[in-house]
Amino acid sequence: MKIDLANPAWQQTLPPARSVATDAPVAACAFNRDGSTVAFALGDGCVRLLPADIKQAAPEATAPLHKGVALSLVGDPAGDGFVSGGDDGRVLRLAADGTATELLAQKGKWIEHLVAHKTGAVAASAGKSMFLFRDGEVREFGPHPSTVAGLDFSKDGSRVACAHYGGITVWSLSKEVVLPPRRFAWQGSHVALRWSTDGKFIATGTQENDIHVWRVAQATDMRMQGYPAKVKSLSWTADARFLYTSSQPVFTAWPFSGKGPEGKPPLQFGDEGAGLMTVVAAHPTAEFVAGGYDSGELQLGDIRTRRSVVLKMADGAAITCLAWSPDGFRLAVGNDRGDLLTIDLRR
C-alpha cells in the first residue's frame, strides 16, 4: 500500500474518484470476488454495476432486479457476480453477464441482511429466519424469537450468528454433525452483528445505544456504553486487534489484543467536525479504516499514527454504505441521495 496519511499530498488533495448520480438512495455496495466490478443496491430495486477501475469507461449496466428496494448486496463468493436481496422477499444471484437467478422468494418478508463467506456460502435474513445458500442448496435456520437484525459467518464459515431481540443465536451449519443452536442471551434489541476476524468474539450493536461483545468459547460477555445513537455499523480489523464502531463523531476503536477492552476507554481519533459517523469499514489487510458521516464526509484513518485525512468533503447527503475492494486499493461509497462513488487510493 502506498497510503501515507503523513504525506502532505495525501492531506491536501482528494484522491481520484468516479461519481455517478442516481435518484434513488443507496442501500448497499460491494465489490465482486476478484475486485473487477463494483455494485450498488438502490432504492428503486435496481443493482447498478460499474467497472472498479475508475478510468475504464463505464458501460450502462443496471439490473432491475427487485420490486421495491434492493436492500442488501454481497459479492458472490461462488462466482463472478453478486447476490442481492430486496424488500420483495427475493434473493437473486446476478451473474457477470447480467443474468439473474432466483435463490429464494419469501413473500411478505424483507431481505435486509446478506453475508458471504469465501467457501462459497451466502446467508440471508428473512423475517425470523436465516437462510443458507451453499452448493446449490437452500437451508432454513430458525425461527428466532424475533426478526433477524444482523448476521455473520464465523471465520471458518462453519457457523452463522444471528442477532435478534434478547440476544444472539449461533447455528452450526454442518449437515453431518447436527448440533443444537447456541443461544447467547442479553436483554434488549440487537440491531447489528459482526463476528471477529479471528473467530473469538461476536459483537452486536443494540437499540439502546451500546454495544455488546461475547467471547464465543467462554460464553462470557462485556458491554460498552456511552454512544449518543444506535450503533448500526461494526467492523473488525483484519488482525482482530480492534473493533471499530460507528455512531461517534470520531473513529472509535476498542482494543481486543492483550487483556482486552474491559475497563479501558476506546481509542478515538479523527476530525471531530464532520457530524456523526454512520458507517465504518476497516481495511481488509492494512491498519487503515474508512468512516462515512451523516454530513456526507468520508475520512480515512490510520490507527498507528492516529492521523486521518478527508477522502470526500461533506455535502449534506448521509453516507449509507462503504465497501473495500479485496485488494484494499479501492473504496465504494453510497449515500442517501443516490450518489455512487468509487475512490482509487493508489497514488
Binding site: D44, W110, E112, G338
Partner: protein
C-alpha cells in the same frame, strides 16, 4: 407546524380500534379516495385484508421492552425496521398509515415515534385515530382494558356504526368516551365514511389545532368516578413558565407517574420566548419543539393536558404553578 425541521418529516397516522370496528373499511376509503397522495400502509394481518396498494407492508408486532427498568416503556422493533426500510425507497410517499390489530395497546406503537432517533428524524406522529363500534363499545369495555386504552390514546375518534344504535344509546357512548378522553375530536360516522382531512395531516403535535376543538366542560356529570378509572384533565397558567423548573418537574412527574399517564400534551408560554413551546408525550416518553409564534398582543397562556389513571388535578396544578415565573 411552523418549525422548519418538521416539514421534512413524513406524517404518521396510527389507526387503532377494536376488532370489527371498521378500521379496514376506513383504510380502504383513505387509499381509494382521489386525493393524489401516496401512502405507505403498515398492517399486522398481511394478505387477509384485500387492501389495494403497492405499499402495504407486513409488521410482526414485535414489542420490545426498553432497558430502562420501566415497564411502560416499550417500542415496536418491527416498526423501526420497516420505517428505516421505507426511507430507502426512491418513490417517496406523502404519509404512513399504521394499522394496529384490534387487541393491541397503542402505547408501544406511539412510543416508537418518540424513542428511536432515526424514526424521529424521518417521521412525526401526526395523530392516533381510534375507530369505535358504537353498538359494541360498552361490551368491549367490560372485556378488558384495551378499548379504554384505545380511547385514552386517541387524538381523533371515529364513533362508527352510528346507524345501528338509537340516539339515546349514542349519547351514552359519547359521554363515556368523553369521560375517558375529553380532548379527542369525535366524528360520528356510518361505515367509516368521513372527510379525509378530518383524520389525516392533523398536526397533533401542534396542540393548538386540537385544543381549538376542546369541548366544553359541561359534558361531564362524571365527577363521582373511581380513582383508578382512565380520565382526562387539563391545567392552565397565565404567567410565563420557567423552562428549567418545568423540565425538572415534568421529568420527575413522568418518572413516578409515567405508567399511569397514557398521553400528555402541552403548549407552554416560555418566559421570554417569542414562540409557543409544544410537547406531546406517551407514558414516560415525550417530544417537544417550538411551535407557532405568539401574535402581538395575544394572551400568552400555558395549558397542559393529561389522559391517564389516578390523576390528581389539584396536585398537578400545584406542581405546575411552582414552575411559573
Amino acid at each position: 407546524m411552523a418549525s422548519p425541521q418538521t416539514s421534512a418529516q413524513v406524517p404518521v397516522t396510527v389507526l387503532t380500534g377494536y376488532l370489527g370496528a371498521g378500521k379496514t373499511t376506513l383504510l380502504n376509503r383513505i387509499l381509494s379516495e382521489q386525493h393524489g397522495k401516496k401512502y405507505a400502509v403498515i398492517v399486522n394481518e398481511f394478505g387477509e385484508l384485500g387492501i389495494d396498494n403497492d405499499l402495504v407492508v407486513n409488521a410482526d408486532e414485535e414489542v420490545f421492552e426498553m432497558n430502562n427498568g420501566c415497564i411502560c416503556c416499550t417500542v415496536r422493533g418491527d416498526l423501526i425496521r420497516i420505517i428505516e426500510g421505507l426511507m430507502k425507497r426512491k418513490d417517496k410517499f406523502d404519509g404512513i398509515l399504521v394499522e394496529t390489530t384490534g387487541l393491541a395497546d397503542p402505547g408501544p406503537v406511539a412510543q416508537t415515534f418518540f424513542t428511536d432517533d432515526d424514526v424521529k428524524a424521518r417521521t412525526r406522529l401526526d395523530a392516533i385515530v381510534t375507530v369505535i363500534d358504537a353498538k359494541h363499545f360498552f361490551g368491549q369495555l367490560e372485556q378488558g382494558s384495551e378499548a379504554e386504552q384505545q380511547v385514552a390514546f386517541a387524538d381523533v375518534i371515529l364513533l362508527n356504526k352510528t346507524d345501528l344504535v338509537s340516539a339515546d344509546e349514542l349519547k351514552k357512548v359519547e359521554d363515556r368516551i368523553r369521560g375517558i378522553n375529553r380532548y379527542a375530536r369525535i366524528h360520528r360516522t356510518e361505515k367509516s365514511r368521513i372527510e379525509l382531512d378530518a383524520i389525516l395531516d392533523k398536526g397533533a403535535f401542534d396542540l393548538g389545532r386540537i385544543l381549538e376543538f376542546e369541548p366544553d366542560f359541561l359534558h361531564s356529570g362524571h365527577d363521582h368516578k373511581h380513582e383508578d378509572e382512565v380520565r382526562s384533565l387539563s391545567i392552565t397558567a397565565d404567567r410565563p413558565v420557567d423552562p428549567d423548573k418545568f423540565q425538572k418537574w415534568m421529568g420527575a412527574l413522568l418518572q413516578i407517574k409515567g405508567g399511569d399517564i397514557f398521553r400528555s400534551k402541552g403548549i407552554l408560554a416560555i418566559d421570554g420566548a417569542p414562540r409557543r413551546y409544544v410537547y406531546q408525550g406517551v407514558h414516560m416518553m415525550m417530544d417537544s419543539d417550538w411551535g407557532t409564534p405568539w401574535k402581538d398582543g395575544e394572551k400568552r397562556s400555558s395549558k397542559l393536558v393529561f389522559i391517564g389513571r389516578n390523576l390528581d388535578a389539584d396536585n398537578l396544578q400545584r406542581g405546575f404553578d411552582e414552575c411559573l415565573k
